[in-house]
Symmetry: C2
Subunit: 113 residues, 2 copies
Amino acid sequence: MLRRDIFQVLADPTRRAIILLLATQPMTPNAIADHFDITRQAVSKHIRLMTESELLNQNQKGREIYYHLQTEKMEEIEKWLDQFRELVAKRFEQLDQVLATLKQKKNEKDSLI
Amino acid sequence: MLRRDIFQVLADPTRRAIILLLATQPMTPNAIADHFDITRQAVSKHIRLMTESELLNQNQKGREIYYHLQTEKMEEIEKWLDQFRELVAKRFEQLDQVLATLKQKKNEKDSLI
DNA sequence: TTTATTTGCAACCGAATGGTTTCTTGTCTT
DNA sequence: AAGACAAGAAACCATTCGGTTGCAAATAAA
Protein backbone atom coordinates (compact mmCIF):
# COMPACT_ATOMS: atom_id res chain seq x y z
CA MET A 1 0.00 0.00 0.00
CA LEU A 2 1.15 3.48 -0.87
CA ARG A 3 1.82 5.36 2.34
CA ARG A 4 2.53 9.04 2.29
CA ASP A 5 3.07 10.28 5.80
CA ILE A 6 5.80 11.79 7.90
CA PHE A 7 6.94 8.39 9.18
CA GLN A 8 7.41 7.19 5.62
CA VAL A 9 9.48 10.29 4.90
CA LEU A 10 11.71 9.68 7.92
CA ALA A 11 12.34 6.06 6.90
CA ASP A 12 14.97 7.00 4.32
CA PRO A 13 18.36 8.35 5.50
CA THR A 14 18.75 10.64 2.49
CA ARG A 15 15.39 12.22 3.23
CA ARG A 16 16.34 12.69 6.87
CA ALA A 17 19.48 14.48 5.70
CA ILE A 18 17.41 16.67 3.36
CA ILE A 19 15.19 17.61 6.27
CA LEU A 20 18.21 18.69 8.32
CA LEU A 21 19.53 20.63 5.33
CA LEU A 22 16.26 22.50 4.86
CA ALA A 23 15.89 23.10 8.59
CA THR A 24 18.22 26.08 8.33
CA GLN A 25 17.23 27.54 4.97
CA PRO A 26 15.16 26.87 1.83
CA MET A 27 17.06 25.36 -1.09
CA THR A 28 16.64 24.43 -4.75
CA PRO A 29 16.73 20.81 -5.92
CA ASN A 30 20.12 21.39 -7.55
CA ALA A 31 21.57 22.84 -4.36
CA ILE A 32 20.22 19.91 -2.37
CA ALA A 33 21.56 17.35 -4.86
CA ASP A 34 25.03 18.86 -4.50
CA HIS A 35 25.15 17.38 -1.00
CA PHE A 36 24.59 13.81 -2.11
CA ASP A 37 26.04 11.17 -4.42
CA ILE A 38 22.78 10.59 -6.26
CA THR A 39 21.36 12.25 -9.35
CA ARG A 40 19.29 15.41 -9.21
CA GLN A 41 16.35 13.36 -10.46
CA ALA A 42 16.61 11.00 -7.51
CA VAL A 43 16.56 14.00 -5.21
CA SER A 44 13.56 15.25 -7.16
CA LYS A 45 11.70 12.04 -6.36
CA HIS A 46 12.48 12.42 -2.68
CA ILE A 47 11.20 15.99 -2.88
CA ARG A 48 8.01 14.84 -4.54
CA LEU A 49 7.32 12.31 -1.80
CA MET A 50 8.04 14.90 0.85
CA THR A 51 5.74 17.40 -0.85
CA GLU A 52 2.98 14.80 -1.10
CA SER A 53 3.46 14.20 2.63
CA GLU A 54 2.94 17.94 3.12
CA LEU A 55 6.37 18.32 4.68
CA LEU A 56 7.67 20.62 1.92
CA ASN A 57 6.35 23.77 0.29
CA GLN A 58 7.66 25.36 -2.86
CA ASN A 59 8.41 28.93 -3.72
CA GLN A 60 9.25 29.57 -7.36
CA LYS A 61 11.71 32.35 -8.20
CA GLY A 62 12.14 32.50 -11.96
CA ARG A 63 13.27 29.11 -13.12
CA GLU A 64 14.44 28.12 -9.67
CA ILE A 65 12.19 26.51 -7.10
CA TYR A 66 13.01 26.97 -3.45
CA TYR A 67 11.73 24.22 -1.22
CA HIS A 68 11.17 24.95 2.43
CA LEU A 69 10.13 22.86 5.39
CA GLN A 70 6.61 22.85 6.77
CA THR A 71 7.97 22.44 10.28
CA GLU A 72 4.55 21.97 11.86
CA LYS A 73 4.35 18.63 10.08
CA MET A 74 7.12 17.36 12.33
CA GLU A 75 4.80 17.78 15.28
CA GLU A 76 2.96 14.65 14.20
CA ILE A 77 5.97 12.64 15.30
CA GLU A 78 6.00 14.42 18.64
CA LYS A 79 2.32 13.69 19.03
CA TRP A 80 2.86 10.00 18.40
CA LEU A 81 5.80 9.93 20.80
CA ASP A 82 3.70 11.62 23.46
CA GLN A 83 1.12 8.89 23.05
CA PHE A 84 3.85 6.29 23.42
CA ARG A 85 5.38 7.93 26.49
CA GLU A 86 1.99 8.17 28.13
CA LEU A 87 1.44 4.44 27.76
CA VAL A 88 4.89 3.65 29.11
CA ALA A 89 4.21 5.92 32.08
CA LYS A 90 0.96 4.09 32.69
CA ARG A 91 2.85 0.83 32.78
CA PHE A 92 5.10 2.16 35.50
CA GLU A 93 2.10 3.45 37.43
CA GLN A 94 0.71 -0.09 37.38
CA LEU A 95 4.06 -1.39 38.52
CA ASP A 96 4.11 1.13 41.35
CA GLN A 97 0.64 0.02 42.31
CA VAL A 98 1.69 -3.60 42.39
CA LEU A 99 4.67 -2.75 44.54
CA ALA A 100 2.47 -0.71 46.88
CA THR A 101 0.03 -3.60 47.18
CA LEU A 102 2.85 -6.01 47.92
CA LYS A 103 4.18 -3.66 50.57
CA GLN A 104 0.74 -3.38 52.14
CA LYS A 105 0.32 -7.15 52.11
CA LYS A 106 3.70 -7.46 53.75
CA ASN A 107 2.70 -5.01 56.48
CA GLU A 108 -0.55 -6.84 57.08
CA LYS A 109 1.33 -10.07 57.37
CA ASP A 110 3.84 -8.48 59.74
CA SER A 111 1.04 -7.22 61.94
CA LEU A 112 -0.24 -10.76 62.23
CA ILE A 113 3.00 -11.98 63.65
CA MET B 1 19.31 -1.47 0.54
CA LEU B 2 18.29 -3.34 3.65
CA ARG B 3 17.77 -0.86 6.44
CA ARG B 4 17.15 -2.05 9.95
CA ASP B 5 16.76 0.93 12.25
CA ILE B 6 14.14 2.50 14.43
CA PHE B 7 12.95 4.80 11.63
CA GLN B 8 12.35 1.81 9.40
CA VAL B 9 10.33 0.21 12.17
CA LEU B 10 8.19 3.32 12.60
CA ALA B 11 7.45 3.51 8.87
CA ASP B 12 4.74 0.87 9.01
CA PRO B 13 1.42 1.66 10.75
CA THR B 14 0.96 -1.93 11.97
CA ARG B 15 4.37 -1.83 13.61
CA ARG B 16 3.57 1.51 15.24
CA ALA B 17 0.41 -0.07 16.65
CA ILE B 18 2.42 -3.04 17.92
CA ILE B 19 4.77 -0.65 19.69
CA LEU B 20 1.84 1.04 21.43
CA LEU B 21 0.45 -2.38 22.37
CA LEU B 22 3.73 -3.51 23.88
CA ALA B 23 4.25 -0.20 25.64
CA THR B 24 1.93 -1.31 28.44
CA GLN B 25 2.80 -4.99 28.73
CA PRO B 26 4.77 -7.81 27.04
CA MET B 27 2.73 -10.02 24.72
CA THR B 28 3.00 -13.20 22.69
CA PRO B 29 2.80 -13.16 18.87
CA ASN B 30 -0.63 -14.76 18.99
CA ALA B 31 -1.94 -12.16 21.41
CA ILE B 32 -0.55 -9.39 19.23
CA ALA B 33 -2.02 -10.89 16.07
CA ASP B 34 -5.48 -10.92 17.68
CA HIS B 35 -5.46 -7.13 17.39
CA PHE B 36 -4.98 -7.08 13.63
CA ASP B 37 -6.54 -8.37 10.44
CA ILE B 38 -3.39 -10.07 9.25
CA THR B 39 -2.07 -13.57 9.85
CA ARG B 40 0.05 -14.48 12.84
CA GLN B 41 2.89 -15.15 10.42
CA ALA B 42 2.74 -11.60 9.10
CA VAL B 43 2.94 -10.34 12.69
CA SER B 44 5.87 -12.69 13.18
CA LYS B 45 7.70 -10.97 10.33
CA HIS B 46 7.08 -7.57 11.88
CA ILE B 47 8.39 -8.91 15.16
CA ARG B 48 11.50 -10.21 13.47
CA LEU B 49 12.28 -6.84 11.92
CA MET B 50 11.69 -5.13 15.24
CA THR B 51 13.95 -7.60 17.01
CA GLU B 52 16.67 -7.10 14.39
CA SER B 53 16.33 -3.36 15.01
CA GLU B 54 16.90 -4.09 18.72
CA LEU B 55 13.53 -2.64 19.65
CA LEU B 56 12.16 -5.95 20.96
CA ASN B 57 13.46 -8.55 23.39
CA GLN B 58 12.05 -12.00 23.93
CA ASN B 59 11.31 -13.94 27.05
CA GLN B 60 10.32 -17.55 26.54
CA LYS B 61 7.87 -19.16 28.95
CA GLY B 62 7.30 -22.74 27.91
CA ARG B 63 6.03 -22.74 24.37
CA GLU B 64 5.02 -19.09 24.53
CA ILE B 65 7.37 -16.24 23.78
CA TYR B 66 6.68 -12.90 25.39
CA TYR B 67 8.02 -9.94 23.46
CA HIS B 68 8.73 -6.75 25.30
CA LEU B 69 9.87 -3.30 24.25
CA GLN B 70 13.44 -2.09 24.59
CA THR B 71 12.20 1.43 25.34
CA GLU B 72 15.67 2.96 25.31
CA LYS B 73 15.75 2.35 21.57
CA MET B 74 13.06 4.97 21.14
CA GLU B 75 15.48 7.58 22.40
CA GLU B 76 17.21 7.49 19.02
CA ILE B 77 14.21 9.25 17.56
CA GLU B 78 14.32 11.84 20.29
CA LYS B 79 17.99 12.37 19.59
CA TRP B 80 17.34 12.97 15.92
CA LEU B 81 14.48 15.32 16.70
CA ASP B 82 16.71 17.27 19.07
CA GLN B 83 19.19 17.69 16.26
CA PHE B 84 16.42 18.92 14.01
CA ARG B 85 15.01 21.33 16.58
CA GLU B 86 18.46 22.77 17.21
CA LEU B 87 18.89 23.59 13.54
CA VAL B 88 15.46 25.18 13.34
CA ALA B 89 16.28 27.26 16.41
CA LYS B 90 19.49 28.39 14.74
CA ARG B 91 17.48 29.55 11.75
CA PHE B 92 15.36 31.73 13.99
CA GLU B 93 18.46 33.10 15.67
CA GLN B 94 19.72 34.15 12.27
CA LEU B 95 16.38 35.74 11.52
CA ASP B 96 16.49 37.63 14.81
CA GLN B 97 19.96 38.82 13.93
CA VAL B 98 18.78 40.09 10.56
CA LEU B 99 15.90 41.93 12.18
CA ALA B 100 18.25 43.43 14.75
CA THR B 101 20.59 44.61 11.99
CA LEU B 102 17.71 46.16 10.10
CA LYS B 103 16.58 47.95 13.22
CA GLN B 104 20.08 49.23 13.82
CA LYS B 105 20.36 50.46 10.21
CA LYS B 106 17.04 52.22 10.64
CA ASN B 107 18.26 53.96 13.76
CA GLU B 108 21.46 55.06 12.03
CA LYS B 109 19.45 56.45 9.15
CA ASP B 110 17.13 58.21 11.55
CA SER B 111 20.06 59.81 13.29
CA LEU B 112 21.23 61.25 9.97
CA ILE B 113 18.01 63.08 9.42
C1' DT C 1 16.52 34.50 -31.18
C1' DT C 2 19.43 31.02 -30.16
C1' DT C 3 21.54 28.69 -26.32
C1' DA C 4 22.09 27.28 -21.61
C1' DT C 5 20.06 26.21 -17.16
C1' DT C 6 16.65 24.49 -13.94
C1' DT C 7 13.23 21.48 -13.16
C1' DG C 8 9.84 17.73 -13.50
C1' DC C 9 8.15 13.53 -15.71
C1' DA C 10 8.19 8.84 -17.70
C1' DA C 11 10.05 4.42 -18.39
C1' DC C 12 12.85 1.16 -16.74
C1' DC C 13 15.48 -1.89 -13.26
C1' DG C 14 16.83 -4.67 -9.24
C1' DA C 15 15.92 -5.06 -4.50
C1' DA C 16 12.96 -4.60 -0.47
C1' DT C 17 8.24 -4.73 1.61
C1' DG C 18 4.14 -6.72 3.40
C1' DG C 19 1.38 -10.09 2.88
C1' DT C 20 -0.01 -15.12 2.00
C1' DT C 21 0.16 -20.47 2.38
C1' DT C 22 2.53 -24.53 3.73
C1' DC C 23 5.54 -27.01 6.67
C1' DT C 24 8.62 -28.09 10.76
C1' DT C 25 9.91 -27.89 15.48
C1' DG C 26 9.17 -27.61 20.21
C1' DT C 27 6.16 -27.73 24.22
C1' DC C 28 1.81 -28.65 26.71
C1' DT C 29 -2.27 -31.67 27.60
C1' DT C 30 -4.64 -35.69 27.86
C1' DA D 1 2.43 -41.80 23.71
C1' DA D 2 -0.88 -38.93 20.79
C1' DG D 3 -2.93 -34.91 19.70
C1' DA D 4 -3.27 -29.87 20.20
C1' DC D 5 -1.09 -25.51 20.34
C1' DA D 6 2.63 -21.75 19.76
C1' DA D 7 5.99 -20.07 17.07
C1' DG D 8 9.36 -19.60 13.35
C1' DA D 9 11.10 -20.62 8.46
C1' DA D 10 10.62 -21.00 3.58
C1' DA D 11 8.71 -20.16 -0.77
C1' DC D 12 5.96 -17.36 -3.30
C1' DC D 13 3.50 -12.98 -5.01
C1' DA D 14 2.18 -8.20 -6.19
C1' DT D 15 3.55 -3.70 -5.12
C1' DT D 16 6.65 -0.14 -3.63
C1' DC D 17 11.28 1.90 -3.28
C1' DG D 18 15.28 4.12 -4.63
C1' DG D 19 17.87 4.66 -8.11
C1' DT D 20 19.02 5.37 -13.22
C1' DT D 21 18.72 7.48 -18.20
C1' DG D 22 16.40 10.21 -21.47
C1' DC D 23 13.30 13.81 -22.67
C1' DA D 24 10.16 18.03 -22.58
C1' DA D 25 8.91 22.62 -20.79
C1' DA D 26 9.86 26.96 -18.89
C1' DT D 27 12.87 30.68 -17.85
C1' DA D 28 17.35 33.29 -18.15
C1' DA D 29 21.35 34.73 -20.53
C1' DA D 30 24.08 35.42 -24.98
